[in-house]
Amino acid sequence: MMNMDNVPWCEKYRVRSFEDMKGQELAVSKVKLFLKSFPKKKAIALHGPPGVGKTSLAYAIASEMDAEVLELNASDFRNKAKIAEIVGPASQQKSLFRNNKIILIDEADGVSSMKDRGGISELLVLLEKSVFPVIFTANDIWHKKFSLLRKKADVVALKEVDYKVVLGVLSDVCEKENCVVSNEVLTSIAIKARGDIRAALNDLQILSKMDSPELLKEVGDRNKEQSIFTALQHVFQTAKIDEEMIKVYDEVNMSIDDVFLWIEENLPLAYKGEELCQAIDALSLADVFRGRIRRQRHWRFMVYEYFLLGAGVASVKKYDRSGWTQYKKPSRILKIWLQNQRSAKKKSICEKYAKHCHISIKTAMKDFMLLKVILQKPDIREGLQLTNDEIAYLDKPIVA
């Protein structure tokens, strides 16, 4: 038996059966259907965000079928001849050791559509003849290089996992590893992971290696805020751009979207006048890159995003600052939420009006000042079946 001490927990506790696949019941049932009807379709494509269990599900399929796995990674696709050499015979011959075999094309996103033209399509042609099921995993199945695959394969989506499911997995692992972590910390890891079980397990493993039990308890929200305070202080007070500045957000354990909100909130506390303007420019450029990442899924842009948020925002001043500033928590999201609560009536009125007039609720909300006048007529109110509460809202004078 190999030494399991240094094996990443996400590998060590990879699920081995359908039953253990947490939070993916729908996907599992679709996979079962695929296996039942095989070889009607030769291939199945499992797609979803990172760490939700695509590869795990593939291995679960193998163990349910008692099958050997022939795994191909994105890096193996460079050479078409090599594919033919490996996949060709393998898709025909029976396994030496097991009754069955599956062919797993893991992380198919990595196959470049430019470099090896038709990479995936070429492979599909080869696999037409396969006598074994072929499993693809991918993050973005809607990329155009997968168009043929989508036609030929059963496409199964794996959903982002709910934090409670993640929490369950973490508790199980803690028990097996004999490690004591407070429920509060586990919950915060689970929430922070945003559905990525692999990330959650990695975090837990790192945490378990810290030998101070004090520290273990302290991780959580407070730690999170402390880490962003430290980063903000560095960015807002230091003029020098060095290695430390470039990596200033590395230790901050919150998502980059949260970092944006913290900087946005606190910029006016840190800078004034022309400096403030330049810092906002840097922030807005970082945001442009964030938008580009979202649209084009080119993750390398994150380098520029972080650079502009750190060095970009820091570089607007010539000299170091001193003193201590009490940075504020971001308030924008809270304000939006509060306003939504207050305008619930307005929204329900607009919903009725929008449905009646074949327009979008958004359009109705935008025209609300005008609608208020039109909706004074009693027969219109009756026709739209407005409730008393809604009518009261309409009759309420506007408070400036």
């Binding site: 809607w142 303007c277 807005s284 580009r292 304000k335 929008a354 958004k362 219109i380 026709g383």
Partner: protein, 332 residues
Amino acid sequence: MSDHYNSEVWTEKYRPKVFEDMVGQEEIIKRVKSLVNSMNIPHLLFAGPAGIGKSTLALIIVKQLFGESWRENYLELNASDERGIDVVRQKVKDFARTKALGDVPFKVIFLDEADALTREAQQALRRTMENYTSTCRFVMSCNYSSKILDPIQSRAVVFRFQLLEKKDIKRRIDLIAENEGLSISADAFDALYEASEGDCRRVINLLQATASISPNITPDLVNTIVSKAKPSDIKVVLDYALSGDFQNSREKLLDIMLKESISGQDVIKAIQKEVWNLPIDNALKVKLTEKTGEAEFRLVEGADEFIQLEALIAAFIRAGLGGESGDLKGGE
């Protein structure tokens, strides 16, 4: 529910019910009419600005195709309101599962504001269209066809609607005036038209709101309503900015956007119009307008509206600080 009662909302009461009632778009109507007469339509994509008859034409199509039973064979979805493609797909699935009633072998799904769907959602939609192509026809509307994926466009017949001419809108308004016993002076109609930017739905809404005060529609009365319905003055935000007060400027901005449900792009539109009225020199106005355009471009490209508007406020603060540094590229 409310569909069945005789609407007193004029945009509904006076919505054209047959092809012949529609104004403008003559070529499109002729072609659509011949398609409908053959009792078979392809997928359709209607592109063009708001309030020129896209939804109306879709409704006429289904009424012509299905007659009395149009409600059972017609599903209307608004892409900008549905929370994600999964909801759209589920609704389409539920609707398409049962066979069409009557002589026509398909049902019609009207997907309004289809350009509000993300690329990914459109990809999924395209598959959904393919899956139900034997039982459903999609009629989609959008402001800009360039925002609709090519594969979807190639599966649909695309009709580009033109902005209605002033005389066309006048024909509808005259009809309403006659029915409702209103007198509308020529000046008053001009005022209605000016305030609506060719959006017929908005003209009619303005008219109904004005008529609720008096049946004698005058320009003054129209302008009273227009100013009442106008979103809060964005100028306050700009004034704070020009005086160098970033905090108050952004607070006011967020306040207006939230309270009045205005999108970032609408705010930018208002700012762009306001710049020329500001007490600053012309060269600066040009620079600020360029900066405004840059902000709008970034929003269209998918940037965060609050952050980009704050950057725009920063440009106005620079202008207030002393002209020259208002340059987009830093100016140093």
